[in-house]
Each structure stands twice: as structure tokens, then as C-alpha cells.
Symmetry: C2
Subunit: 96 residues, 2 copies
């Protein structure tokens, strides 16, 4: 199992319709083959500056790789992520 | 549910007995009341510099707060975390 997470902030104002639209659009990622346990999360620690997070799991590297090049993922990155995300950090975990 | 995560690097060499001892000592945290789904994780993304992660969940803020001041947690922070961790970032999530 590989858990892919990304913490991020949006260019949109907190509570804005644009923020809600972005988070709703991200649900499309959950339908990409190989994506398991997709979660949209609010980041609540005061010890970093991120406001949101996504988390998803893949069975293996092949599933993760297929997600990365899936047209739905590539369209989301191009049409929503790049123009609307201000800062982000990707953190990926495997169990030990 | 609050998911408390921390990504970190150790002062120890990769694969060293000291690294293993630190990761083993951290299992004590799993026994603190209120800690659910405790995980020790290897960080595998090349997009950040962290090597390890812990993840745990709490039912609510009260359980998280009790963990923070629990003697086993405070001893781990004082005796292992502060002297052995080089860099870290805490990220906490709640579902939306």
C-alpha cells in the first residue's frame, strides 16, 4: 500500500464559493481506477500553514503510476490545481 | 476524528541500529489511551526531504489533548524526539 497525501492552500478566500467548487471538483479523482480511500481533509494544526489536504491509497507503484497519467488526473492538475493552488507539499507513505 | 501526523528525519544514519531503536521506542505511543490506528511509516516521495512518518487518530480534541500531556508522550518527546529528530512537520487533518 502507498498512501499519497498532499497538504495545500488555495488562492481562494476561506469559505468562498470558489473554494467549495475546487473541493467538489476534486471528487473526480476518487473515480480514477486504482484510487482507494480517497479523502478530502481540513488541515487543523497551527504548526504549518496549509488549510486542506487530500489523501488516497494505491495497492502498488503500478496503480500510483497509472493514476498520475490518467486523463482525469492530468485534466484536474491542468485546469484546477495549477491555477487555484497557492502552495502545497506532497507526502507519500508506505507502512513499515 | 482527528488524524495527527508528523513527517520527520532522524539524526541517525539510514539503516543504523539507532534508527531502528528510535522507531521501536515509538511503539510506546500506541499504548497511550485515546490513540487509535497508530502507524509508523516510511516517507517515499522525492518531493520532500522527510524519511519517516507517524500517524494516529483521536476521537476528538479532548483525546488529543490528553495524549499531548500523557507522561509516556512527554517522556518520549524529551528522551527520544528532541535529541534524535533533525527536522519535522506536523500535519493534522479532520474529514470534511
Amino acid at each position: 500500500m502507498i498512501r499519497h497525501t498532499v497538504a495545500f492552500t488555495l488562492r481562494h478566500a476561506a469559505g468562498s464559493p470558489e473554494e467549495r467548487a475546487f473541493l467538489d471538483a476534486a471528487l473526480a479523482l476518487a473515480g480514477i481506477p486504482g484510487v482507494e480511500r480517497f479523502e478530502r481533509l481540513r488541515q487543523v494544526s497551527a504548526k504549518n500553514g496549509f488549510s486542506w489536504g487530500f489523501s488516497m491509497e494505491f495497492a502498488d507503484e503500478a496503480a500510483y503510476g497509472a493514476y498520475n497519467v490518467h486523463p482525469v488526473h492530468e485534466a484536474f492538475v491542468r485546469e484546477r490545481w495549477v491555477p487555484e493552488v497557492a502552495e502545497f507539499m506532497e507526502i507519500d507513505y508506505v507502512a513499515i
